[in-house]
């Protein structure tokens, strides 16, 4: 499997492609560096099971550790609430993404637009189109996908990664978050 090729073979982008996150701690650094990150969590976050926990459990840890506001898409808010974590907001994936293209948007807390959007758990092809929208129409936003599939339209993406390495990567990120 070509690791820095689009996970869905045909979803080839254009000339500008995501930089590959070669090591997970690099992602952590970028998150740490962001002034106003936001974390957008899609419906697959409960479908993906690492054995010990689910993707959403890692994400909650990550959000807490990094103090990153979460937007739950689809019906995910329920899954967060079940885990005693209240996302900062919930709305359709395309709605939050549309807002991220608006320089005037004040964010979930009214304090202003975000500078980094982390995506995880959307269906691959939907995340692909959404990240495409952001790449083209949110020039000041950086995007990182925390999924285990190469998302060419993100600013930064992991390559296609086995599920178990994915869990490792998430752990590394969580460990390296915060504490500047």
């Amino acid at each position: 499997m070509a690791t820095a090729e689009p996970w869905q073979t045909a979803e080839v982008p254009g000339p500008k492609k995501a930089f590959v996150i070669a090591k997970a701690d690099v992602a952590a650094k970028m998150i740490n560096k962001a002034k106003r990150p936001v974390l957008i969590v899609g419906s697959k976050a409960v479908e993906i099971d690492f054995g010990d926990k689910k993707l959403i459990d890692y994400i909650i840890e990550l959000a807490k550790k990094g103090k990153i506001p979460v937007v739950a898409t689809a019906h995910m808010v329920n899954e967060f609430l079940k885990r005693d974590y209240k996302p900062k907001g919930w709305m359709p994936a395309v709605d939050i993404s549309n807002r991220l293209t608006d320089p005037e948007w004040k964010g979930l807390d009214g304090k202003g637009q975000y500078d980094l959007a982390l995506f995880v758990g959307l269906p691959y092809y939907m995340e692909w189109t959404i990240l495409s929208g952001l790449k083209h129409f949110a020039p000041n936003l950086k995007t990182i996908t925390l999924d285990n599939t190469y998302q060419p339209h993100a600013s930064w993406s992991f390559p296609n990664t086995k599920v178990k390495d994915w869990a490792e990567n998430l752990k590394v990120i969580i460990d390296n978050l915060g504490g500047e």
Partner: protein, 782 residues
Amino acid sequence: MNRKNVRVKIDELKTDVGLFKNLELSIGKVTEEKWAEPMGPTPFPSVTALRNWDMKLLQRYKPFYMPFCDLCCLCTYGKCDLTGNKRGACGIDMAGQQSRIVLLACCIGAATHIGHARHLVEYLIEKYGRNYPLDVGGLNIQVEAPVTRLVCGVKPETLGDLEEVLDYTETQVTHLLSATHTGQEGNNLDFESKAFHAGMVDQVGMEVADIAQIAAYNLPKADPEAPLVDLGCGTINVEKPVILCIGHNVVPSVGIIDYLKANGLDSEIEVCGLCCSAHDATRYYKRAKIVGPISWQLRFIRSGFPDVVVLDEQCIRIDTYDEAQKVKAPVIAASEKNCVGLPNRTNDPPDEIVKDLVSGKTPGVLILDPEKVGEVATKVAVQIAPLRKKFKTLPEIDEIIQKSKGCRQCDDCRRACPQDLHIPEAIKAASQGDLTKLADLYELCIGCGRCEEACPIDLMIHSFIVKAGEKQLKQETYKIRCGRGAIQDVEIRNVGSPIVFGEIPGVVAVVGCANYPKGGEEVAEICKEFANRRFIVVTSGCAAMSAAMTKDDEGKTPYELYTGEFTAGGIVNVGSCVSNAHIAGAAIKIANIFAKRNLRANYEEIADYIHTRVGAVGLAWGAYSQKAASIAAGFWRLGVPVIVGPHGSKYRRMLLGRADKEEDWYVLDARTGEKVYVGPAPEHLFYAAETKEEAMVMIAKLCMRPNDTTKGRAIKLTHYIDLHKRLFGTMPEDIHLFVRTVADIPVTMKDEIIKILEKKKWKETVIPDPTLLPRLVRKRKE
């Protein structure tokens, strides 16, 4: 009497334009003006006639572009890189490019329906004459063609009257398509407005097609009790010769059915169909059977069931001919749109063609004469059935296990699968003798075959899945109420008030194709949920089929359980894709019949009415095609929100409202001219939902309209909150945007909601007589 293209010979004719002698007149149209309604402002609207209205909608629902490609490759200046704010060699930018593709898709979609309508009307005129009356519902239908009346300002009464309507639509499609040429339109909002225009003329085209066939073929005429017919592979008696019709044009199917009947073969032979031809065949002939939606094409053919495959037009897999050959079933192509490269045998004697097909001398033919198709298909079916013995290409279980052992676990199949299905895992399990994982994929698989194309060792993965799911396939025995056609005027009268005032919480149109993210069951579930909530659920196309494909504990399918009447709690199958026009028609008729707004060429006012008052939402959960795009566009221009499934994000853009921008949600109060904040109702005009849960909550929400009475709003809020709580586990956070006065608050939740309103610093507003059109304000404010 309206007639088109009459030829009369006149010796001498004295008129105010001069004296004609020895003339042969070819009379384009003889009109007896019977329609008393005065002509509205926009008869046969040009491309820009409704641009102002479009811009109003587009200001509120701004496009969010999600480019499906960073490049443009439309001309030989290209390819051009349009990344970010880069412009191509023609100067276009990314927003322009994406909206251009939207317009192009809508043009293709509209052209498809209109071209279909044109062939149909031409054929039916030839057969039944120009004066054949357009009876689509007898006395129950006074407004027989609401879309056409609204858009064109004419009132078609006969088949012949439809021609000028089609002329108009073709002119518009041509103009619109031309705007996609390099170096024409470039402004994204103008492209969007043009896409709306395409959607509007598409609706006209669909209406023309359906009323023509309803009238001429005597399909159910707005009949809430249209017969229940069979759906599903299991309903087809494969002991008999089976003729399979695929596509969207019922004419060849009618040719077959008529031939069967005329020759007393109707109980000897099974006629079944896939996609909309199946819908329409059952509307014509109760004994016709529906195999299923588009995604059943490969599985049904590979199962070897059909003895002859008749292809008409639209939604037909391109490889059907090859697949049919593999199961030794001859193919008859029956449309100019889809000639399949086959020899044109239209003018040959039927028996010669039959001989060649049965002998295998030629595995397929093109026959552009539907009656001949009927004869040939039937004879071939009868003769070939005993020869081919339902020869199939599905593998045996052993073979699956054996072949699966070769799997390299390379993931290529999964990476090719639009659904990202876990195929390699299932193949691995299969190689170990466990086919359950493959069987689990049966429901999720849309039957596209891309996995097989990708597999380096050529495993027939889809066939594996179908074989593993064969039990399911064979148990598919459902009932569907065949397409009823239009909605009766009296039904509109009955529900008009409760809909407009909000007491019927909404009309949900569940339509379109089968590109579902997680199988068709979700569609059935959504339909039942909203019917149970006493919404009016309307279905059509493949979605109407999926809605049927579920059973309750007693084995009853939704169409058996719910009424087919257009009323609260109904599940109403209007029919094939072109029947979608009746859904728009119903909304239009509410404005016309119930609210007595002028209909004739009065598009803007009616759309404004629908947008602000009629709580209708379209759901195209599996939309995949250009037709789906243009159908959606037709609803957008009427101000009706459309939800698509996650694959719909590939349609290049959403039309999203911004609930957080107060300034976007003002309407005029037609009584006072005052600008009134009415909240984000409806919040979005086009959007792709990620999961069915999200879609369901959004359906409830998008049904709210500024015009809702307090009682109506309270009911709508109840459903919204209830679904939100159940599916999202919590109260919605935006209730304050939808509560206008305390009376809006559902009584059962009063305290809870009041608390939220206080927290949100909610203030009471008035409920206006809402409009977006300044000219509709009766008393202008100083």
